[in-house]
């Protein structure tokens, strides 16, 4: 009997092949980096002294010792950007779908444009517009421009999947607008909110273009610092730093994967 997926055999084999290619493309850099971090091999003809690390605890101690400041800065940026992106993006997404106004569809589509604006252009325009503002604020603003579209898109899609009558029902049962939001809308959007928080985290944590442009010696995010490491230090050192950088991203991506599957649909009306 044919497998339950219902795909014809040829298509299924193609699907498996595509999955393998994708997995290789995604995993190869990580594997190379990981082996690099613990290696003393030559790289691009440059004699590598290695990071002087043999074990994982060594690695973390080494990297946090050198790049602790940048690491802390990245944590600070993420800690501000994630809640801010949700606080702005989620209500906007809800409003786009539940309280549409003339031009709201256009505005919603326009919200996706920043995704394809080069970071350099964005960074310079931020400096032009608000050069006098504190650098940290500029950095946060830059990250918001890249992450808000994801929040809007994810939450808007989730808003679309639940019956607007649920909100009407809450109102008819005596709940005001805020109580309806707290007791019905937000709980039903929770999977989408968690998903977009993870997406924002992953993007903001790894954002390089804007961060690099806006970086000052005292205000460097981890990816910007990584770049300097790659250009000035040996590969194993940079690779070690990259591993530390990836450490929180991998769990986040795994969580996104899990949410994208079953969890995301839990609690949605049958």
């Amino acid at each position: 009997m044919r497998a339950a997926t219902g795909f014809p055999g040829g298509l299924r084999r193609a699907g498996i092949a595509a999955t393998v290619v994708l997995a290789l493309a995604l995993l190869t850099p990580i594997v190379v980096t990981a082996t690099g971090a613990f290696s003393r091999a030559e790289w691009y003809g440059q004699r590598s002294e290695g990071a002087g690390v043999e074990t994982v605890p060594d690695l973390f101690r080494y990297v946090t010792g050198i790049w602790g400041g940048a690491l802390l800065r990245s944590v600070q940026v993420v800690a501000v950007v994630v809640p801010l992106a949700l606080a702005i993006g989620a209500p906007a997404a809800w409003a786009f779908r539940r309280r549409p106004f003339p031009g709201s569809r256009l505005l919603e589509s326009a919200a996706l444009v920043p995704l394809s604006v080069p970071g350099v252009a964005l960074g310079f325009s931020l400096i032009q517009v608000a050069g006098g503002a504190p650098r940290f604020a500029l950095l946060v603003a830059g990250h918001l421009v890249y992450t808000l579209p994801m929040v809007v898109k994810t939450v808007a899609n989730a808003v679309e999947t639940f019956d607007p009558r649920l909100e009407s029902a809450a109102r008819s049962l005596g709940a005001g607008e805020w109580e309806t939001a707290a007791r019905v809308t937000v709980p039903l959007l929770t999977p989408a909110l968690v998903l977009s928080a993870l997406l924002v985290f992953a993007v903001s944590w790894g954002e390089f273009n804007v961060s690099f442009l806006l970086a000052t010696p005292l205000l460097q995010t981890f990816p910007a610092a990584l770049y300097l490491t790659y250009t000035t230090n040996s590969f194993p050192v940079a690779a070690a730093a990259t591993l530390v950088f990836l450490a929180p991203v991998v769990p986040a991506l795994l969580a996104i994967q899990a949410l994208g599957g079953e969890e995301f649909h839990r609690g949605l009306p049958a």
Binding site: R165, S168, A170, R171, S172, G174, P269, A270
Partner: protein
Amino acid sequence: MKVHVEDVSFAYGREPVVSSVSMELPEGGITVVIGPSGSGKSTLLQLLCGLLHPLQGQILFDGEDVTGVPTERRDVGVVFQSYALFPHLTVRENIAFGLQTGRRRFSLRSSRRRPTRRHLEERVWDAAALLSLERLLDRKPSQLSGGEQQRVALARAVAPRPSLLLLDEPLSALDARLRRTVRAELAALLRKLGTTTFYVTHDQEEAMLLADHLVVLDQGRVVQAGDPLDLYRRPQTPFVASFLGEANLVEVEALPSGPSPVVPVRSHTPLGSFVLPGACQGGWLLVRPEDLTEDPCGTMATVLDSRGMGPHDRVILLLDTGTEVLAHFSSETAPAPGTKVRIGVRTRRPHFVAHRD
């Protein structure tokens, strides 16, 4: 609670949906609004519960103007067509929802106060018991059948004891067999509750079974309102006649009036001659299928089709004058297709639907 709708209009953009509708919902009675899809009946329900606001006109609850009052302060209970049960809450939490909302104390009516925990549990239990949901309280809506979901929706709406209960085609999502049993139960329950009820449907049988007061809506306007049986027997327009059950409408031409406009005149129709009101401008005679019977002195007709429906036989007849009529003969007495029969009208003075300008 007495509800008055006064000259209410509503439009989506430029498309009028409800056009100067006025009606009165009798206190403690069931008002059924019936109409085809797009007649504005659901919109009217949303205007009553405040999910939409009229462009014109007033809505009065016990004489108090609530036109601008938001839904949460109107003291209404709504059963939606899709039920709209909160999927993230259990049946118990769904029913309790309306007993725990904050605005309760600001509501129009003092009967809706925030109850204590014990009181809350009692009220949830009462509502659950009313709809035999005691054993389903810990389930999630997704674990319930359609009929059970419908009962939860009703329990949730009645638990806060609203002054006005609004039901938007609450049975349309159920299959035909279930709908029939639920319909009778629902009628009994709504009468027991004695809450002023506004019930929207497009199902004529549902309307006849439930309504104390029946309102027929078409294209956003009230076509006729009144006692359901009266509307069935004495519709004022061909639309009402054919929307409430099956109808033979026999065209009657304008007659020369008799010696005086109040003197009735006799009109000859394909189904026989009948006495009509004086000064007749022409119109239709309403002959319900059950009013037609085999009659040795009646009009000649040929049976075109006949089908046993169980309670009656459904017979399509072609009169010798060329008019087709539908008759319901008592069960299993219908002649076979092709047979010639003589038929007559049971009532002496069938209802006359006059032309309207």
